[in-house]
């Protein structure tokens, strides 16, 4: 059962070994997760050192992972880059004020009447120049553009993680009909061509928000799009984690400590959240950290294709789309959003992989 979600969307998370139905696939999928020997030999030295400290103190898997992460140079560099973009997003108004500009302020006087291209490049008033045609300050568009990317990435990851945990726990622990229904939904969602579905759904769901005949203002459309986008990403995004949790719970359910808790009459909710869930912290953190860059990519891709965020919400993906035709004459328009998306997603992905390595017991030998 291949996934409809693909290269452009949430791909890596669909490949948790638990989705498999046989050993053959399990082996194949383990490869995609890089959880076999590959990882082990990459960080053999580190692993021995970590193992030595492990024996001295009784620490939780999360603590061990955190200690290993702190020693990983790639992870720290990625973290610095991510924090940089988070700071840009938080202090966007301040940075733009510092530049002496504001978002969505038009400068028709800086636009050549002949070819609608700006007559100035990057300068102390406009750090990244101005947009062709409208004359908007591109630094402001860029700085504020960090916000939707990060908000969508983190919010969608939070909600899809919560949904994934709930569905996975329900399917794995309750079993029976609940399990059958949830597994069927998962298989159904995996059979859909993700990107195509999302492209078609975004405008349709958006229109469902408006009363018949009502015409929305640009601001309303823009904020509805924002919510719809997060909703759709969550809707398609929880399946990977749910399947993983389901598989883990199926085996944890039979373990002695869970059986013991059941026998002494611990309520189901307490068993789920006190006994089982703490054992799944690792995979949950890993899954969430891989989800964030996937959602940011999805938002940027959808905005680029015209099914994502709309004006006046700034979006790097849309800026890229606007800038591509002006590229030959005005590359300054394209480069800031292109480099930012690439760098942010790259840093988040590498951080995610570093977190996965840190939690992977195979690298700890």
């Amino acid at each position: 059962m291949a996934t409809g979600s693909d290269l452009w969307g949430v791909r890596a998370r669909d490949r948790w070994p638990t989705r498999t139905i046989d050993d053959r696939r399990k082996r194949a999928l383990a490869l995609t997760m890089g959880s076999t020997t590959e990882v082990a030999d990459d960080s053999a030295a580190r692993a021995t050192a970590a193992a030595a400290t492990d024996r001295r103190s009784g620490r939780s898997p999360s603590q061990i992972a955190w200690d290993r992460l702190k020693r990983d140079k790639v992870a720290i560099t990625s973290l610095v880059i991510v924090i940089f973009f988070i700071l840009v997003a938080i202090f966007a108004p301040l940075l733009v004020a510092l530049e002496g500009e504001e978002l969505n302020k038009y400068h028709p006087e800086l636009i050549s009447a002949l070819n609608t291209y700006p007559i100035i490049g990057a300068n102390p008033q406009h750090w990244f120049g101005v947009e062709p045609r409208t004359g908007r300050d591109l630094f402001a568009v860029w700085a504020f553009g960090a916000r939707p990317s990060l908000i969508i990435g983190f919010v969608a990851a939070t909600f899809s993680t919560i949904l994934g945990i709930i569905m996975g726990l329900a399917a794995g622990y309750l079993g029976g009909k609940v399990d059958k229904v949830i597994t069927w939904i998962i298989d159904l969602l995996l059979s859909l061509p993700f990107l195509l579905m999302v492209l078609a759904l975004v405008p349709i769901i958006q229109k469902r928000f408006a009363a018949p005949g009502e015409i929305l203002t640009a601001e309303e459309t823009s904020s509805i799009r924002f919510v719809v986008l997060i909703g759709i990403l969550v809707f398609f995004g929880w399946i990977g984690l749910a399947r993983l949790i389901r598989g883990e719970v199926l085996s944890l359910r039979e373990r002695e400590f869970v059986q013991a808790a059941k026998v002494i009459g611990v309520p189901t909710r307490a068993i789920l959240f006190r006994e089982i869930l703490p054992n799944l912290v690792g995979p949950i953190i890993v899954s969430a950290s891989i989800a964030v860059p996937a959602y940011i990519t999805a938002e940027a891709t959808l905005s680029y294709l015209g099914a994502g965020l709309v004006e006046p919400t700034p979006s790097w993906g849309r800026t890229v789309s606007n800038a591509q035709n002006a590229y030959a004459r005005y590359p300054l328009f394209l480069w800031p959003p292109v480099l930012s998306i690439a760098l942010l997603v790259l840093a988040l992905s590498l951080l995610g992989e570093a977190i996965r390595d840190a939690f992977d017991p195979n690298t700890r030998r």
């Binding site: 059962m1 290269l7 046989d22 053959r24 990459d42 061509p193």
Partner: protein, 328 residues
């Protein structure tokens, strides 16, 4: 065996049915008027609105529309386009609001472009991915190996549409090294050559994954006892790697290929948009911008059918290759 195939086929059919019903409800039977929603706010004239309403049949009850729609898919039906009835043979996907072309026909003419692009992409990522992966596995731990793994990790983490866009801008627009896409009507030669650029970049992006799978699998296999035995018998290294190890190492990679094949059909969507390849993906994006409902629905349905059928084929193929699957 038969039971397994029957069970998988049943699952596929149930998924398709749900997709059909869900798309129908989403597009036609929601709380707002789909004709109004699809008419577009600026270009909507009362005439156009009326036309859309009639061709959608939204003036009739939902259940009736529903049966009419399925009847169209199963045996064909008549649809009013611009006031005049037109026959739409099974499986009827309707007519484009904008151009009046039958959706099925429009999709059929574009499908070869998408399929060809997907095939070329596959050829590239399989050759590049597997050969590089095997090379890295044989030189495991060297600078070359670390370089290959690091590069594939970095390259594979950057959003693919960014890579595709930059590649398109630099190789076909700014420095026209590679030819741009040409329609099939301009001759098969230019058409094929024009698909090379999008296939290269999409293939390379996919290859980053295959490099890592092939490498990891090969590293695994080269550590097996039988490989050591083969070496100790004095067989040449070439033979050990390519005759003994490679075949075993490739089996999980083939599994992943099966999983990717269905995804690839929608993976070409963004690439088609960037390079202007007139395939199903680009067509879908265009029709979204024009609010051309029948085309959007048709593409979504066809996309789902393709994915579901491909998955079914892959699963059944496995049950022949690996008997253990049937038992699960």
């Amino acid at each position: 065996m038969l039971i397994y195939i029957a069970r998988r086929a049943l699952m596929a059919v149930s998924v398709l049915l749900v997709v059909l019903v869900a798309t129908f409800l989403l597009f036609f039977a929601g709380p707002s008027d789909p004709a109004q929603a699809m008419c577009g706010e600026l270009r909507c004239t009362p005439q156009r609105l009326e036309d859309i309403r009639r061709s959608l049949g939204t003036d009739r009850p939902v259940a009736e529309q529903f049966t009419e729609y399925f009847k169209g898919l199963a045996v064909g039906r008549e649809i009013y386009v611009s006031g005049a009835p037109r026959t739409c043979s099974a499986p009827c996907l309707g007519f484009s609001f904008r151009t009046g072309i039958e959706v099925k026909e429009a999709l059929a003419t574009r499908f070869p472009n998408t399929a060809m692009l997907a095939l070329m992409t596959m050829a590239i990522f399989l050759t590049v991915g597997i050969s590089t992966g095997v090379l890295a596995a044989r030189r495991r731990g060297t600078a070359l190996d670390r370089g290959v793994v690091g590069f594939s990790q970095v390259f594979g983490s950057i959003p693919s549409y960014i890579l595709g866009l930059l590649f398109a801008l630099y190789t076909t627009v700014l420095y026209p090294i590679l030819p741009r896409y040409a329609n099939r009507s301009d001759g098969l030669g230019p058409w094929f050559v024009g698909l090379i650029a999008p296939a290269i970049i999409l293939g390379l992006i996919y290859a980053t994954g295959y490099v890592r799978y092939a490498r990891a699998s090969m590293v695994d296999t080269l550590n097996q006892d039988y490989v050591r035995t083969a070496r100790s018998k004095g067989i040449s290294e070439q033979k050990v790697v390519y005759r003994h190890a490679l075949r075993a190492a490739l089996s999980p990679v083939v599994t992943i290929l099966g999983l990717d094949m269905a995804g690839l059909l929608s993976g070409t969507l963004v690439t088609e948009h960037i390079f202007g390849v007139d395939g199903i993906g680009k067509f879908a994006i265009e029709s979204l911008r024009n609010d051309d409902l029948p085309i959007i629905m048709g593409t979504v349905l066809i996309g789902c059918v393709l994915v579901v059928v491909m998955n079914l084929i892959v699963d059944i193929a496995y049950s022949f290759l690996d008997p253990r699957v049937r038992l699960s």
